[in-house]
Amino acid sequence: MADFVFYLFAFLTVLAAAGVVVNRNAVNAAMCLLLSFVGMAALFVLLEAYFLALLQVLVYAGAVVVLFLFIIMLFDVQGGDPRKPYRKMAAASGLVALALLVIGVLSLAHHGPPANPDPALLAGPLPAGASLKSFGYLLFTTYLLPMQVTGFLLLVAMLGVTVLSRKFDAGEGTP
């Protein structure tokens, strides 16, 4: 049962991700991205990371994709990608990237973790209620400093976006 659900959502996620790359229309690509993020949230649920699945839907599927759609709407780009042949450089870089990826997967298959790990090593399922509790506990003890730095980063990002999207005159020079 769990196997079937895993394959279902993995297939959905990968298919939607391929849709992002293949679609020439930017709005369709954003919709495929949304589907891929939701499939990823389902995979998180299968991995018993319920809080992260919730966060994935809220932040990625909710905020990020909507932001993308807003920008696409703002640009109002007609047509999408032009059908032009790829240049030699792009084709060569694609081939090199494919070779690197194949080598990476092969090395993972040879030196990666065993396909059937010792069941004694596999940790038991985390209790559902304790997961969120231990999340908060870790955030406020071990990872207190990273959390504060992340909060500061959010502030910096907010200020940066405000400065970047400010309307500036040509005579004023670079902002």
């Binding site: 995979l43 932040v59 932001l67 792009a90 694609g94 071990t142 990273p146």
Partner: protein, 115 residues
């Protein structure tokens, strides 16, 4: 069939997909995003593919965390999601500024740094 009955008796789900399955899906998603970055010409779509790659790496982190039985990987992914949200906001602001200046989002027309 007896193994199935045994698992049912233990009150657990049948053998789930292992760590390698999740790592493979993660690698596949990363590869798809990578090719999107290489082959697409619209800056916005390239940025979407970057998000896809970031998301694939978080899947690997969550899978490792789950199969190690610790919460640390989950906390890392929490930070990654936060940073990614900030990054998307700043990146899209840069793309909007670029579009205002150059009136295009196609990477082949943005060659100001080319000599």
């Amino acid at each position: 069939m007896s193994a199935f009955a045994l698992i049912l008796a233990a009150g657990q789900l049948p053998a789930e997909a292992g760590l390698n399955h999740y790592l493979f899906i993660s690698a596949l998603l990363f590869a798809i995003g990578f090719f999107g970055v290489l082959l697409r010409r619209n800056t916005l779509v390239i940025y979407m593919c970057l998000e896809l790659m970031l998301n694939a790496s978080t899947l690997a982190a969550v899978a490792f965390s789950r199969f190690n039985g610790t919460m640390d990987g989950n906390v890392f992914v929490f930070f990654i999601i936060t940073v990614a949200a900030a990054e998307v906001a700043v990146g899209l602001a840069i793309i909007v500024a670029l579009f205002r200046l150059r009136r295009t989002v196609q990477v082949e027309e943005l060659t100001a740094l080319k000599n």
